[in-house]
């Protein structure tokens, strides 16, 4: 789960990590008041779950509270397009107003889980190349990134921060501050089941202090059950409406750009079905995994989600019945087709447990659909129906 920068900075503050003074605002008036509480120049930052906000015009400065009002009036409500949002952009509902910092140096600091079999532990990464995309730094000059692995039993040890600080060429005062920041960031990472904490840039300002100028926190979805306070930070405005609906129905759905809607059981098979559609010359409209033990009700809900995407021109159902029996899938499909006015062509491929019963039910239901036996055949038929 992702959260906004202002929420991330609140958490950093709670963990004693220095961040610029400021607060979030949902209206230009709130922004004017927030700017009034600070002195001098302020920065107004659009709050959306995407990187590259500055380039899209989502980060601007203001010299006075009045200017903060005017700038916020332009940013709040705008459709912000960045390299991560897609061409449609994302609507800005809120800005962060904070004091401008005179950054002398821009560093990078992050903590994440290294899943390679060699490590399989938490890793701290730092770089002198702050303020840039770290993927780009990793690709072009990997020697500029330093990292250290944290032993899960030993935990964080100050020497690790000292080692990183030396590579960042920090003076002794700054090393001490850096060690505190790193220790606290690791504490936050563990406490809240984070999957990524990233401070980019971590800046050194004119008086030599370190400051987290930007902050990105991602959380492990599987850990959320034990952090209700983090779960409460979820912003459904940032998610595609159909994805929110799917989540509420415990269906795994991700909207894509194509027009062949697919409904599959199992994540691996769902990905494979998408691959097959592409291989057959089509474009999948979504990833949808109804899960291993889907009920007829869940199948109906999944169907509603698929059919409410206006781009979908054809539906491909691909089920390998194991625990999920084919007759249950058929009963869900029949129920769904009755309750929703199904006008789209449909290709159904059933295999596995109770396949004969499942097929018989479909044949006798009066539903119109195309049957496919094989995996690839199903994809080809679906693509041909799109035209």
């Amino acid at each position: 789960m992702k959260i906004h920068e202002y929420q991330a900075k609140d958490l950093l503050r709670e963990y004693g990590i220095p961040v610029p003074r400021g607060r979030s605002a949902a209206t230009p008036e709130e922004a004017r008041l927030a700017a009034g509480e600070l002195s001098g120049k302020v920065v107004i930052k659009a709050q959306i779950h995407s990187g590259g906000r500055g380039k899209g015009g989502g980060v601007r400065t203001a010299a006075s509270p009045e200017e903060a009002f005017a700038v916020s009036a332009e940013i709040v409500g705008m459709q912000l397009v960045t390299h991560q949002t897609g061409p449609g952009g994302k609507k800005v509902h809120r800005v962060l107003v904070e004091e401008a910092a005179d950054a002398q140096r821009e560093l990078y600091l992050s903590i994440l889980v290294d899943r390679s079999q060699r490590r399989e532990c938490v890793v701290i990464m730092a770089s002198e190349a702050g303020g840039m995309e770290i993927e780009k730094v990793a690709a072009e000059s990997p020697e500029r990134i330093v990292s250290c692995a944290i032993h899960p039993v030993v935990g964080f040890s100050p020497f690790q921060a000292r080692k990183l600080a030396a590579a960042l060429h920090l003076n002794s005062e700054q090393r001490k501050a850096f060690t505190d920041i790193t220790r606290n960031l690791y504490r936050l990472f563990l406490d809240k089941d984070c999957s990524l904490v990233e401070i980019n840039p971590l800046v050194i300002i004119g008086d030599g202090r370190l400051l987290a100028l930007d902050a990105k926190l991602d959380f492990d979805d599987d850990g959320l059950y034990r952090h209700p306070e983090i779960k409460g930070l979820r912003d459904t405005d940032e998610e595609a409406p159909l994805e929110v609906e799917a989540k509420n129905a415990s269906v795994n759905y991700i909207k894509l750009e194509g027009n062949v809607g697919c409904m599959v059981n199992g994540a691996g098979l769902a990905m494979t079905t998408m691959d097959m559609i592409k291989m057959a010359g089509g474009e999948p409209a979504n990833f949808l995994d109804v899960g291993g033990g889907a009920s007829p009700e869940q199948i109906e809900k999944a169907f509603r989600i698929l059919t409410s995407d206006p781009h979908v021109k054809c539906i491909l159902v691909n089920i390998f019945g194991g625990i999920l029996r084919c007759d249950r899938v058929s009963s869900g499909l029949i129920q769904a087709a009755k309750n929703i006015e199904m006008k789209l062509p449909m290709v159904v491929r059933l295999q596995g447990t109770n396949v004969a019963e499942g097929r018989k039910m479909l044949n006798e239901s009066g539903l119109r659909f195309t049957v496919a036996e094989g995996l690839y055949e199903a994809a080809q038929k679906a693509v041909s129906l799109v035209g």
């Binding site: 889980v113 899960p152 194991g322």
Partner: protein, 295 residues
């Protein structure tokens, strides 16, 4: 012979009285699996279809010589269940549970290191050795005893491939689902090493997914350590970056973990890469035939 699950396996099911645990225990019994005991804390003294239920794994080990544990407990209790199995001296832990936080798995891996236990999963469909039995979710009807080893990160996609093989008359030595989480007990490499040493296994089918570097690590291992033919498929060529495709582990992040990277690494290692999964079974059959003619 087969790998992991064999004639010597004596299975204890943790979470045996739960909905999942009891259902899949009964299914596994139909396949002949030797389930000697179950564990549900607080339900010690009960039975399930004649299988004794205990409060602690230690009792199942002591009284019934259990050496394999299958775990179906809810995610919040599962790290504890795993630690209990390790402590009780179980040799093979097969964990089906989905939704364990990654940081818990970091601790679990640490506990496994230096212990005598090997773990498969979590978030996996388990293991089936045709003719011996199974632990996990794999449907009973798809298997046939034979000489192909199957190892996969997926669930239903694995059933699909096993079923293809069976329909082509190609049996399996053992099928293992290693799980779809970012950190799992055993990786492809570990399974490939076991299949390589197993006299029953003549060829290996490997099914990977986007995300992480497990397939790349496997490719490296294959090129130096595996002499048996390997056929491989990677799911998720069309997956967008930055999105978790169902499995927590199936995510392309920072431009890493793409299907193309994995296909390339495997191809370089001499693996027969198959981009159309509907053809995986046929491809494996061809390779076995070729081997027979040569051999």
């Amino acid at each position: 012979m087969a790998i992991l699950l064999d004639e010597k396996s004596r299975i204890v099911i943790q979470g045996i009285t739960g909905a999942e645990g009891s259902f899949h225990t009964r299914e596994a019994l139909k396949l002949g699996s030797r389930i000697v005991a179950g564990v549900t804390p607080g339900k010690g003294g009960a039975t399930l279809d004649g299988i004794p239920v205990y409060d602690c794994v230690g009792d199942a080990v002591e009284k019934h010589g259990a050496n394999v544990s299958g775990i179906y407990t809810p995610a919040a209790f599962t790290p504890d269940a795993i630690f209990e199995s390790i402590e009780a001296g179980v040799e093979l832990i097969i964990c089906m549970t989905e939704g364990i936080p990654v940081l818990e798995m970091v601790r679990v891996k640490q506990a496994l290191k230096g212990s005598g236990a090997r773990m498969i999963g979590p978030n996996c469909p388990g293991i089936t050795t045709p003719g011996v039995g199974k632990v996990g979710f794999m449907p009973n009807f798809i298997h046939k005893q034979g000489n192909v080893g199957v190892v996969s990160r997926s669930g239903t996609l694995t059933y699909e491939v096993i079923w293809q093989l069976t329909n082509l008359g190609v049996g399996q030595s053992t099928s293992v689902g290693i799980g779809g989480d970012p950190i799992v007990g055993s990786g492809f490499k570990d399974m490939l090493a076991l299949f390589e040493r197993d006299p029953q296994t003549e060829a290996i089918v490997m099914i990977g997914e986007i995300g992480g570097t497990a397939e790349e690590e496997a490719a490296e291992f294959i090129s130096s350590e595996v002499t048996k033919p390997v056929v491989a498929f990677i799911a998720g060529r069309t997956a967008p970056p930055g999105r978790r495709m169902g499995h927590a582990g199936a995510i392309i992040s920072g431009g890493k973990g793409t299907a193309t990277d994995k296909f390339n690494a495997l191809e370089k290692a001499g693996v027969a890469v198959e981009k159309n999964p509907a053809e995986l079974g046929r491809r494996a059959t061809e390779i076995l035939e070729k081997k027979k003619n040569q051999g």
